[in-house]
Subunit: 387 residues, 2 copies
Amino acid sequence: MKLVCSQTELSSSLQLVSRAVASRPTHPVLANVLLTADAATGRLSLTGFDLNLGIQTSLAAAVESSGAITLPSRLFSEIVSRLSSDSPITLSCGEADELVQLTSLSGSYQMRGMPAEDFPDLPLMQSGTPIRIDAEALVKGLRATLFASSGDEAKQVLTGVHLRLDDDGLECAATDGHRLAVLRLANITEPQAVASAELVAGEPFAVTVPARSLRELERLLSGRPSSEPLSLFCERGQVVVLWADQVLTSRILDSTYPNYRQLIPESFNRRIVLDRRGFVSALERVAVLADQHNNVIKISSDPAGGKVMIRADAQDVGSGSESLAAEISGEEIEIAFNVRYLLDGVKAMASDQVVLQCNAPTTPAVLAPVGEENPFTYLVMPIQIRS
Amino acid sequence: MKLVCSQTELSSSLQLVSRAVASRPTHPVLANVLLTADAATGRLSLTGFDLNLGIQTSLAAAVESSGAITLPSRLFSEIVSRLSSDSPITLSCGEADELVQLTSLSGSYQMRGMPAEDFPDLPLMQSGTPIRIDAEALVKGLRATLFASSGDEAKQVLTGVHLRLDDDGLECAATDGHRLAVLRLANITEPQAVASAELVAGEPFAVTVPARSLRELERLLSGRPSSEPLSLFCERGQVVVLWADQVLTSRILDSTYPNYRQLIPESFNRRIVLDRRGFVSALERVAVLADQHNNVIKISSDPAGGKVMIRADAQDVGSGSESLAAEISGEEIEIAFNVRYLLDGVKAMASDQVVLQCNAPTTPAVLAPVGEENPFTYLVMPIQIRS
């Protein structure tokens, strides 16, 4: 293998694929990135794969002789990122040799690699018609829901985000059992959005992908602007996303995703409209005290006075209360929440106003932005308060 | 106690004094800040003190009734920092009551404090004539030396920076036993710099202060511009620094500081002048490999070729070498260093060029900036290499 490439491109590509390299690899080769140089296409391909998540990208290179090798991801990235961008980088290694020679303007480095044959194959099946999704829409959907997925591996399917495509558009949903975030992107239309055989047959397409993989997908998609839709293949427990020069593969969470729609109440008898920024600030202040105890805050509405009170009580430490102007319909109510759950949801919205809808102190409440194009529903279970 | 003050000022003052609040207090009251409101002066004073380091500052306040109380530093700072800067803050608590009431625009908070009597007294002795030092000069001296002090508490006096004032100016020195940094600020003249009874008598003044305290002093002094000199009192194992509205107290390390001057060779038979930025970049790249093994890099000079080679060898992982143009006088040499020590020193310099001076691979080498106004000496012990 011998090739010359740009320092800038190699460095940014390494940064990208290293996100999929295991931090605590179960096998030494999983701490490496795979380099494949192809003289025919004039490209160097890089792959990181921790057996769950895989990321592959490629860059232009003057390939003198083709070949493949793996190199320690961290060491290689750190050296390359510190090299001068003024000088191209030459990489070479002999056949059946695992010592890679890197030459730049003033420096020369040798790194011991491992054979490419030891590196596991990415599940790169791309059979059938791909599902095409607008990348920007998917980024919106992921940002609005990822935070609501569970971080507890024991919760299995809840550690993912559920993506559902039908004739009407894309829906992203995540829940950890205490709160549920659903964003519906209805304005995604053909051909950018959906063009799959399955959908033509009227059958919606749905898949649950681990949040960890989708966080990397979100990062990858927002890393550079492109109006190109991404292509998604789904088969045998794996999902493969192709976008620009990049490939992301991930295992799928294949248990049935909970039927979250049935959790969302159909109607509400109480509605409280609040200034979103003022609500966030008040919650953040009261949270200082709530965090000292059990994260619980109480919201009480005063329909006559046109305001709500937000209160936290941290026994022995202190207490705090904030008053906020509100448009209230329905009778007064006192309802308690985990302040962190409220903040996560309200911060994920971008509107000027939010509406809090509920029926009783013990039934699910729903927060939503006011006047947003894409319907966002954030359901939070209240905390039962002993009076 | 009852007073009204500005959110901005209270918040920044709290941030300042909280640096001296113990993170793991040995007594509950040490997690608190002391508030003292004085109706006569119209000021609210804040104090943080962990028994080693103390910081006190004050701000203007409309004090309705004087009083003193202590409040949990973190809780209090976090609430105040999140309050709106549009509204003043009212603080009040009854006599013999430890519940402090905080009121702002929309919110009201209660915090449980502890009596001011429980808070230890700051060692605020200010007897004798103070030593006056130019604040900007001291900041320079601290920045050039703090990093070379030892982080190992067992090394006692080496965990501090040694400050020495004589008729010629201020000298700051720090060493951890492996390297030594000395900055001499010769251009400090009366009356800004030195005006003490002791110095008039021709006796130099010297003190060793823990690096932790001096880091906070450096932060405090560089926090806002002021041409005002600071006043320094030193007595009974304590140093007290007064500057603007601020007071910093610290214990002194009272063992004898090593006679570091005798460590610095008087002459060198080898001199290597390097571009500082190029040297830093080359060291940082080679450090990626040196860090994998034992941090050792080797520098070899090539007087005929007018260049130096910097090499690191990490067995089993790889190796790297960089070549750098240099003006060399004296014979060729190969000398090894801990790359981290070199980087610390060269990064603390600001000059375009640095000079590395040495005599043999086993005797101390000295790095210095070329053409700087204040003489800076950075001595590093080489590492003995088996050939």
